[in-house]
Structure formats: C-alpha cells, structure tokens
C-alpha cells in the first residue's frame, strides 16, 4: 500500500480540529434548552445573513462541486458537467420567488419540514405523507454522492484495502464522529464548521486556479487539450465522440433542462429547506440569493479543473487498478501540490462532504419523525422516543445511501444527484404552487405526484443511453413530442403539472372537498416582530 503519510496526517489533524469545534458549537449562542427540534434542528432560528450564507453554501456546495462535477467534465465535457454553472446561476432567481413566503408561513405556524407546510395548506395527510416519503427517498442518492467523494479522497491517499472492511472502515469512523457531534450540537455544528470549511476551500481553490493553469501552459492550451479529447472517438464506442466541448443544437435542451431541473429541485430537498428556515428573519434568505452566487463562480472554476486534469494527463486509477473519473481532482492535487497542501485540500474536501451528509441525514430523520412517526405511527410519543426514532432513521438513511453506492454505477456520481432530483421535483407543485394559490386540488396534486414519480422512476431505470450497464445509469431521455434528449426530472414534472391541472378542473367541477387550509394570506408575509406574530409556536407538535 502506497500511503501519502504527510497528507494523511494533515487530513487527520484538520478533521480532529473540526470535530472539537463541532462539540463546542453547542455552546454558541447557547439557548436555555437544546432539547427541542426548534433549537436542535433550526439553531433556534437565530442565524443572520452571514451565518446563513455559510450554512447554505456548506449545504449546497458539496462533494458534488469538488468531485462529481470536475469528474464529469474530465470524462465527457460540457453537457454532463458544465451545466452545473447555469444550474447554480438560475437557482437564485428561482428561489427568490418563493423563499420569503416559505419562511413566513413556516415561522407563523412553527413548521420545520416541507411536509409540515403542505399539511398546513391542504390538511391532507396522504399528500403530506407523499411529500415526506419522497424527501427521504431523494435524500439517499444525494448522501451517496457525498460518500463517493469521501471515498475518492481516501483512495487517492492510499487508505483502504481490497477487503470490504478495510475499504470502508475509515469512512465509517469519520461518519460516526460526525454523527456524534451533530447529535449533541444540532444545526449549530454544521453552521460553525461551514465557516472554517469554506475558508479552507477558498484558499485551496485560489491556489489551484492560480498555480495549476500556469504549470500547463495557461487556459488556452488547457481548453485546446479538452477540445481535442472531447472530439476524439470514445473508447467505449468509437462511432461517437468522447464528449461535448460546446453543445450542438441537438444538445441544447439537454443542457438547459439539466440546469433548470437541478435548480428547481434543490430547494425541495429537506436539508436545503432546513437551512433556509433557520434564518432569523424573512429577508435573510432573499438577501442571500443576491450574494450566494459567489459560490457559483467557485463552482465554475472547480469544474474547469476537470479540463486542467486533461491537459496535465492525470491518471485517475483506483486501488483496484481501474480508471475511476471520481478520483481525477484528488489525483491532480496529489500530483502537483506539495504533500502538506494536498493534505489541506483533501481535509477541506472531506469535511465539505461530511457536513452536508450529516445535515441531509438529520433533515431526512426529522421528516420521518415529525411527519410519519408522530403523525401516523405513534401520535402520543414522548420527546425521548422521538429522539430515539430520529437516531435510528438517520442511520437507516445512511444505510440506504450506502446501498445506492454499492448497487449503482459510481463512474458517474453526478447522476446520483440528478436521480434524487427526478424524485424530489415531483413535490414542487404541492409545496411551491401552494405558497401562491389555493386553486390546485389536493387529490390532483397527489395524482400528479404519482404520475411524475412513476414516469420518472421507470424512465430513469431503463433510460440508459450513455451506456453503462447498471440501472439508473443516465438522467437524460428523449422527451416525447420534442425529439431531443432532456432531463427526465423536468419531463416528469411537466407530466405532473398536466395531470394536476386537468385533475383540478375535473375535481372542482365535481365539487370534491379540497381539504382544510389552516393558513391565512397574512401568514405568507409575516416577519419577525410583526404584530400578532409570535416566534415558533408549536415546534414540538406535529401538524395534524
């Protein structure tokens, strides 16, 4: 085994420092009592613009940014990788539309999860159950993406072996430590760590962007090398080129739909909603929409490191001797940075993958505890029982994520995030449309969700065009009626909305009851300190 000891030591030291911080975070702006979902899960809703910026950033830019996107750029170019740039650009105008209303209604009624908001608006338990189940399911492949990222770091460091236990042990230790302090400190831990992590990442990116292109003849030469590689015949199928340097007309919709679909999906995920709701007033989220794009620039430059690796001739070969694109960025760093700085970079990436993985599993566990366990299984459960259920569910979510890692093709980890998006996008009409109008009918929402889920899952399962042999190998499929390939999630959402509109018209004509709405128009504009508005009202009670 060829272990890079200096880098490994730096990684371990960084990880230990972050762990100590995580445990100390419980004392940060310490509340009288941390034992409530409001304090633990939302940090007491005390986060201002700066903290929210780091928290959202730490939440949104993950192993996806550092590992998966550059890997996709390295392997097949723009359509499979660089779409992440327009994705993170249109993300902010998209969330600007509804973030204010979502925060206000959640604040007024003490909602913590997406399913709470839907339950309050429609008073329909089957609909909020659908939203909760979808949230948990969609989070799993997203966590899986983080696991792939951490494994890539460890593999390049030379840690791990061929046996199942040796390969996964470092990963399990890292995860256990993180789960422990997250459990004691709640959302305060990732919020605090996110600040440190981001500073480290910025240093690493700055060095990588300034230092590396110069080594390989500048950006012109790098782009030329990428263009040459993408135009060369593919190794798997010599009839088609390796990848796409600049998308041609047939690929425009694929590129745009991947970007738009990902952007609309992101703020449906339980963990992003948690981060957005933890801000202290209505404007914080929107103010952040104007300053978060700084991360998008970073993402774009990171994506281009995939091209830098092409020019540098990086060979991402795993411990098993096979080429694994996910290793390309860690390998590039190890080849061209001094060992100690490789350690800093790897530490930053590893923490950057672990923190969101923790937030994601907490958010999914909250969703289960609040909207499934307490709403259905045991309405009169005690706080202690809920805590226990949360623990178990967050573990189950991680095991589910592990299944995704083992069963699906790791070659294209970016696909994990897109697969989660196919599912989570189907909850958008119930959640977002409801913030603006009560016109849509609850059963039509449920029918639309079901139609989108079935179409999306079936198409994604069989829709392998790239072609890896495993199921769920690709996120693009020919759009019926359009003829070009597009993101399956967005096609499924379109189907969802058609069913929704037709269903609503029919159900309204039949005068079927549309459930009870406990919210008023005022709720969607409420801010802290408004008259008649109290801070979180019933965070410990599930919405019935």
């Amino acid at each position: 085994m060829n272990v890079n000891w200096v880098a490994l030591v730096v990684v371990v030291v960084l990880f230990a420092a972050v762990t100590v911080m995580g445990f100390m975070a419980a004392r940060w702006r310490r509340p009288a009592n941390l034992e409530s979902l409001h304090e633990w899960g939302l940090g007491g809703k005390s986060f201002g613009t700066v903290t929210t910026w780091f928290l959202l950033g730490g939440d949104l830019y993950t192993a996806y940014t550092f590992i998966a996107v550059p890997a996709a750029m390295w392997a097949t170019g723009a359509v499979s990788g660089f779409f992440a740039v327009p994705y993170t650009i249109v993300l902010y105008p998209v969330i600007f539309f509804f973030l204010g209303r979502m925060w206000s209604v959640a604040h007024r009624h003490g909602y913590i999860t997406t399913a709470d908001i839907v339950q309050g608006r429609y008073g329909t338990r089957s609909l909020s159950l659908a939203v909760a189940v979808t949230g948990i399911l969609a989070t799993m492949p997203y966590i899986a993406l983080q696991l792939v990222g951490i494994q890539a770091i460890l593999e390049v460091l030379g840690v791990g072996g061929t046996s199942l236990l040796a390969r996964d042990l470092p990963l399990l230790i890292a995860f256990a430590v993180l789960a422990a302090y997250t459990y004691s400190s709640g959302l305060r831990a990732p919020a605090m760590i996110a600040v440190v992590k981001d500073l480290l990442i910025y240093i690493v990116i700055a060095v990588a962007i300034i230092h590396l292109p110069g080594l390989f003849g500048g950006w012109s030469a790098i782009f030329d090398a990428a263009q040459t590689k993408m135009a060369a015949p593919s190794a798997a199928n010599p009839k088609v080129p390796t990848g796409v340097f600049v998308p041609g007309p047939a690929q425009h919709w694929a590129y745009a739909s991947l970007a738009l679909g990902s952007a609309m999906a992101l703020f449906m995920y339980p963990h992003s909603v948690t981060a957005a709701l933890s801000s202290k007033d209505r404007s914080t989220g929107r103010r952040n929409a104007a300053i978060l794009p700084a991360y998008s620039l970073l993402l774009g430059l990171l994506a281009l490191l995939g091209y830098v690796a092409i020019k540098a001739g990086t060979k991402p070969v795993g411990l098993d001797g096979k080429v694994n694109p996910q290793l390309v960025i860690p390998q590039l760093f190890e080849d061209h940075f001094p060992s100690w700085f490789t350690g800093v970079a790897f530490g930053a990436i590893a923490v950057g993958a672990l923190v969101p993985a923790a937030i994601m599993s907490i958010a999914a566990a909250n969703l289960f505890t609040r909207n499934i366990y307490k709403a259905y299984l045991k309405p009169g459960s005690t706080d202690a029982q809920e805590a226990k259920v949360s623990k178990i569910v967050s573990l189950i979510t991680k095991v589910g994520a592990l299944l995704f890692v083992l069963l699906l093709d790791k070659q294209n980890a970016l696909n994990f995030q897109l697969l989660g998006g196919v599912w989570i996008l189907q909850t958008l009409p119930a959640l977002v449309f409801g913030l603006f109008t009560r016109w849509f009918h609850r059963w039509a929402l449920l029918a639309g969700w079901a139609a989108g889920m079935v179409y999306g899952t079936v198409t994604a399962y069989g829709g392998c065009t790239a072609c890896t042999t495993r199921p769920f190998g690709n996120s693009l499929a020919i759009v019926p009626g359009l003829g070009d390939a597009g993101y399956i999630g967005l096609t499924a959402l379109a189907l969802n909305i058609v069913v929704l509109v037709v269903g609503t018209v029919v159900l309204k004509a039949l005068k079927v009851s549309n459930g009870t709405d406990v919210t008023t128009q005022f709720d969607y504009f409420a801010d802290v300190d408004d008259p008649g508005v109290q801070p979180v009202l019933s965070a410990t009670e599930p919405v019935r």
Binding site: T88, I89, W219, A221, I222, F223, V246, R286, D527, G532
Partner: protein
C-alpha cells in the same frame, strides 16, 4: 396558534402590484437568459483563453447576482412603503417594525 387580530383573511400584500410584476420579469430574465444555449454555443470570441461558451456563462454569475440584488431592493422599497401606510392607521406598528 394565534390568529392575526388586525388583518382579516385577506391581506393587501397578496395582491399583484406593479413592483411585483417588475420583479417577476427581472427574475424570469435571470432564469431564461442563461438557459438559452443557442445564444452562446460558440468558441469565439475568446477571453483570456476561455472560449465564449465558458466565459459568457461565468459572466452570468455576476449578472444574476445583480438582478437578484435589484429585485431585493425593489421589494424592500415596497415593503417599507406598506409599513409607513400601516403606521398611519396603527401608531404602534412602526415602533415594533423599527426594531428590525
């Protein structure tokens, strides 16, 4: 939960205003323009070695941030105006809002 004692079931802020329409237009531009791939699917002109396709999209990072900032300012202006109007009928309202 407590109800809102000083507003009925309808809220004036629910209505569509010129400001809201302007903001919606600005945001839709910020969403649609970066997705019109046909407007930037070319290599030339290059900038600092970056093909047009790549630098144009990175440029949009700043444009989108600007559009969101502009929207934020417009909505804040409208909200402040609403708070002022409310204060004339409810003297306590401004004091409570001023603490923000």
């Amino acid at each position: 939960m407590s109800s809102a004692p000083d507003t009925g079931p309808s809220d004036p802020r629910w209505r569509l205003t010129p400001t809201k329409i302007a903001v919606a237009v600005i945001l839709v531009v910020g969403i649609v323009a970066p997705l019109l791939v046909s407007t930037y699917d070319r290599v030339e002109p290059r900038l600092l070695g970056f093909p047009f396709f790549y630098w144009y999209q990175l440029l949009w990072v700043f444009l989108a941030a600007g559009l969101c900032g502009l929207s934020f300012w417009l909505l804040k202006r409208e909200r402040d105006a609403y708070t002022r109007t409310r204060s004339e009928t409810d003297p306590g309202y401004a004091d409570r809002s001023a603490r923000r």
